[in-house]
């Protein structure tokens, strides 16, 4: 009975999602790789949020075409990353491009998560024919090579922000559904779920309160990875000419507009946005890896 005298650690603070988030970040300090990832992602987030203050020029203002990085600007400033073939400041375009890509990637991934989580919970919890139907639809969508799917959808419905988001939701929610489904199948066998069933809780209460919170670990890691992947996709659509309409800066579009000049002696115009998109994706991937490592340790 006196099993209690030694107890565990002292009294816990009540759970708070924001506190938990920062606690999570704090835990990341144990993983150098994760720290680099968090740093990269946060840098781009800061860039995106404060774009109007950080960008030295209007991203669409034509100034001196074909300026190399470091060229002095007419107003006494410097084109740190040079200008493109129309004379627009590349640094400013990168900064505003970060804003666009982060906005669309976040919106699209979040929306895909909402859809994927709902369907995954239902497939994994109800099983039976609900699962068969949902899984079959997912299999159909997943049997398309993703880029083929994007090309066909965007070509059919036209390139716009909303369509890009819809296409991403359509293409990536089946993958999320599968992950949530398999997590649900596993968690649903736990005794605390049976306990909830034996006290007559409703199915949605069990899915959302008993199951979903315990799936959050793997889902957060997957979310980071998917943010990276959506960033790649948005860039790819821009690169293929199916992205957001010009002239607004879009990293993929910047690459495709300027890559003809690589051999002409101006490789920086295409390489800089290529490096930018790679760094952001790297940030997401490293962050995911760090989170996974930290999660496994506990």
């Amino acid at each position: 009975m006196a099993e209690i005298t030694q107890g565990g650690p002292s009294v816990a603070s009540p759970p708070n999602p924001i506190v938990q988030f920062f606690k999570g970040l704090f835990l990341l300090r144990e993983s150098p790789v994760g720290m680099i990832g968090a740093f990269l992602v946060l840098s781009f987030v800061v860039m995106a949020v404060f774009a109007p203050f950080l960008a030295p020029y209007d991203p669409n203002l034509p100034q001196i075409p074909f300026a190399y990085p470091g060229t002095p600007a007419p107003d006494g400033g410097v084109f740190w990353f040079g200008t493109d073939q129309l004379g627009r400041d590349i640094l400013s375009r990168i900064i505003f491009g970060a804003q666009r890509v982060l906005f669309y990637a976040t919106a699209a991934t979040l929306a895909a998560y909402v859809v994927g989580i709902m369907l995954g919970l239902m497939a994994g919890y109800y099983r039976g024919w609900t699962d068969e139907v949902i899984s079959f639809i997912a299999n159909v969508i997943l049997s398309f090579p993703v880029m083929v799917l994007y090309v066909v959808i965007i070509a059919k419905f036209g390139a716009s922000g909303a369509n890009i988001i819809l296409a991403v939701v359509f293409a990536s929610s089946p993958g999320i559904m599968r992950i949530v489904r398999s997590l649900t199948l596993d968690i649903a066998t736990r005794e605390y779920v049976t306990a909830a069933q034996t006290r007559g809780e409703s199915a949605w209460y069990i899915m959302l309160v008993e199951i979903l919170p315990n799936a959050r670990g793997p889902l957060i890691v997957d979310f980071c990875l998917r943010m990276g992947y959506t960033t790649i996709t948005i860039g790819a659509l821009g690169f293929l000419g199916l992205g957001l309409p010009p002239p607004d800066p879009d990293w993929g579009g910047m690459i495709t507009e300027t890559r003809a000049f690589i051999t002409g002696g101006f490789p920086h115009m295409a390489i800089i946005p290529a490096v930018a998109v790679s760094l952001l994706v790297l940030g997401f991937n490293l962050l995911a890896d760090g989170l996974r490592e930290v999660a496994l340790r506990d």
Binding site: M1, E3, Q6, A12, P14, Y192, A195, T198, R199
Partner: protein, 703 residues
């Protein structure tokens, strides 16, 4: 014996694991001497370091484990000085090991024959065909039916008991001098375990192999070993010949361990179990001096908490030593206080009536596209029994007996196929839990088996209990709910600030207490406890069992206690139902079940349970074969394939009649009443030795 070189000798062995937080000592100052042909048991609770010792002997401790002091001598040679290649030659040929999880220990994608033949191929330099011949011959030796078929099979194609026999055969293939057995039967059913134990005993006598047998089960050690080491928190605390330790134990922890397991002949009212208070210290938070000090009733400040406590020999007791400064001065008998015996409870009216309850599943094997072939599994078949107010009814059986399915039907998670279940006047058999009103739901609650997943890790203890209170409509005002949560924590004897904790901050025993609090939150009439303590350490089991029974008594709740462990059941049940493959084989009062007449299955089950008492003599009954798959049960009596009394032409074709032996004692068997009545008792208790550890200790006033 004395002039022989020991097969194995551990001298002052210390083993540590190195993690990010630093060095964690797993085993400290461990000594062991094993002579040829000798069997040595190592017993202790989880985390005491017993498996670490075995892996250290094999020199296989992972990348973060290492020997930090002392030596391991194998046939006189220090293993720590051996090269990788020398070790490799030793492993599997001179020293072999049998593991806890037979399924996990065998390569899933390699045929068993190939896995077995590797041993002679790499150690004995024989031809391929010779190696396979030897493997097959040994499979026959470990009494596996049809060795030829097993040679060509993959691990998942044979049963758990057969897998363990294959692992044992693999270990014996090159006739090792030393065999290490690490909990070899823990994952198996008790009647299957009995067969493996029998095999192990025969091996030691036939091959003369020295053995180290690691187990948490004192009864198994008694059946298999000559000598015994008791470990606690990384240290050996008592070592000696098995009879000396069992009959003349000198360490307070050894006594505590024996005091917390039920022994035959004792029931809950005459002798409550005595739990050891407190819990195991974490390896990096061990106390000064004696590790057991903080939990010991004989703790003497100034002596027990100073310096390292050495092993001290006990006079006139063979090679018997104990790690306790007060070993010889404690007057065990002088300070005995009879534990609070409880009066038997008067049982009330019938609360739960189960009549001809059956639950069948359609198991579908995927056919082409939508066409499916279905087989019917009869998980429960014609179950009938009654349970009264304040009564404890135990449902006993091995895996596949249908006890968990039965719990599900009762709880409304599954619908019965036929038959009825009445709680009071309400029929529940076809009523899913969501169709039951909240009063009915709260009247029928459950305590679960696994402490690690009985509570939702994402929510606090308080909110989880609170949810139950609100759901059952006991209270709705948040303040009152909080109050009720705190009261429930009091009831299960946990501090009130646990309400704010997350489950991961609790020990296994504490989690089970919360599980009990949750089940009793809505004043249930019937509580189903599905193996509520089987996953806990022995010393904690007793405390949780007692708590459960106390609350049950106070509330006059009917308890359905599902278990595979007959000794626990004998200790706490009023009535017992013995199940096998979905059917009731025997039901009756506890005394009736444990004394003849028996059902042949009950008889075998009783004989199979290892008992940690040297004064108990059992009749030997080892069942042949394994439990048949519920997918393909025998036609007549489900037990006929393994029954030693089976009547050819009758038992396998006709379901057995229910024979009423007395008022409420029923045996389902083809044997005539006369034959059943003529059965001999399985367990006989000799006169108990003068000082046994079977009585309760009370704290001794510290001078």
């Amino acid at each position: 014996m004395t002039d022989q070189t020991p097969v194995l000798e551990c001298r002052n062995l210390s083993i540590s694991y190195f993690v990010r937080a630093g060095e964690i000592p797993a085993v400290v100052d461990f000594n062991l001497k094993l002579m040829p042909g000798e069997s040595h048991g190592i017993v202790g609770e989880s985390g005491c370091g017993k498996s670490t010792v075995a892996l250290a002997i094999m020199n296989y401790m992972g990348k973060n484990g290492g020997i930090t002091g002392g030596e391991i001598l194998f046939q006189g040679r220090d293993m720590r000085t051996m090269s990788e290649e020398e070790l490799r030659r030793l492993r599997g040929s001179k020293i072999a090991m049998v593991y806890q999880e037979p399924m996990a220990s065998l390569n899933p994608s390699m045929k068993l024959g190939d896995q077995l033949a590797e041993v002679p191929l790499y150690h004995d330099d024989v031809s391929k065909s010779e190696a396979y011949d030897r493997a097959e011959a040994l499979l026959a030796k470990v009494r596996l039916p049809d060795p030829g078929r097993i040679m060509g099979a993959y691990p998942h194609q044979i049963s758990g008991g057969q897998q363990q026999r294959v692992v044992i055969a693999m270990a014996l293939l090159s006739n090792p001098a030393l065999l290490l057995l690490d909990e070899p039967t823990t994952a198996l059913d008790v009647t299957v375990e009995a067969g493996i134990v029998e095999l192990i005993k025969d091996i030691s006598s036939e091959f003369g192999t020295s053995m180290i047998y690691i187990s948490h089960n004192l009864g198994l050690i008694l059946e298999t070993c000559d000598r015994l080491t008791v470990m606690y928190s990384g240290e050996a605390v008592e070592v000696g010949d098995i009879h000396n330790v069992f009959d003349e134990m000198h360490h307070p922890y050894t006594r505590g361990l024996f005091g917390s397991i039920p022994v035959p002949g004792a029931d809950k009212n005459a002798r409550p179990l005595v739990a050891i208070r407190g819990q195991l210290p974490l390896p990096h938070a061990r106390p000064q001096g004696c590790n057991f000090g903080p939990r010991c009733d004989y703790f003497a400040a100034g002596r027990c908490d100073q310096g390292d406590i050495p092993m001290t020999p006990i006079a006139n007791s063979g090679a018997h030593a104990v790690r306790c400064v007060r070993a010889e001065e404690i007057d065990w008998d002088g300070h005995q206080v009879d534990a609070v015996g409880r009066d038997a409870v008067e049982v009330g009216d019938v609360v739960l009536r189960v009549e001809d309850l059956s639950k069948h599943y359609e198991v579908q094997s995927p056919g082409l596209l939508l066409a499916k072939d279905a087989t019917t599994v009869k998980a429960n078949e014609d179950l009938s029994f009654r349970a009264r107010e304040a009564e404890t009814v135990a449902i006993v059986g091995e895996s596949g007996c249908g006890k968990s399915t039965f719990a599900k039907v009762l709880m409304g998670l599954e619908e019965s196929t036929s038959g009825t279940v009445h709680l009071g006047n309400k029929e529940l058999g076809k009523l899913g839990v969501r169709e039951r009103d909240s009063k009915t739901v709260s009247e029928l609650q459950m305590v679960f088996q696994n402490p690690f997943d009985t509570l939702n890790p994402s929510h606090t203890i308080g909110s989880q209990i609170g949810r139950v209170i609100r759901k059952f409509g006991v209270e709705s005002d948040p303040k009152k709910i909080r109050q009720r949560v705190l009261e429930l924590l009091d009831t299960v004897k946990l501090p009130r600030d646990f309400a704010n904790r997350k489950p991961r901050q609790l020990s296994g025993g504490q989690k089970q207490r919360i599980g009990i609090a949750r089940a009793f939150a809505g004043d249930p009439k019937v509580v189903i406890a599905d193996e509520p303590v089987s996953a806990l350490d022995v010393s904690v089991q007793a405390a949780v069992t007692d708590l459960l029974m106390d609350i049950q008594r106070d509330n006059r709740t009917t308890l359905l206690f599902i278990s595979h462990d007959l000794s626990v059941v004998r200790y706490l049940a009023d009535r017992i139902i013995v199940m096998y493959l979905g059917q009731i084989m025997e039901k009756g009062n506890t005394e009736e079940i444990f004394a003849p007449p028996y059902h042949p299955y009950t008889e075998a089950l009783l004989a199979a349970v290892p008992i940690a008492d040297t004064s108990v003599k059992k009749r030997k009954i080892v069942l042949k074969g394994e439990i048949p798959s519920p997918l393909n049960p025998p036609k007549g009596c489900p037990f006929c394939t393994r029954c030693q009394y089976a009547i050819p032409g009758v038992c396998e074709t006709t379901p057995p009649p229910a024979r009423e032996m007395s008022d409420r004692h029923v045996i389902a068997c083809h044997l005539e009443e006369e034959e059943l009545r003529n059965m001999k008792p399985v367990i006989a208790i000799e006169d108990a030795p003068p000082s046994s550890g079977t009585s309760a200790e009370a704290p001794e006033p510290v001078s």
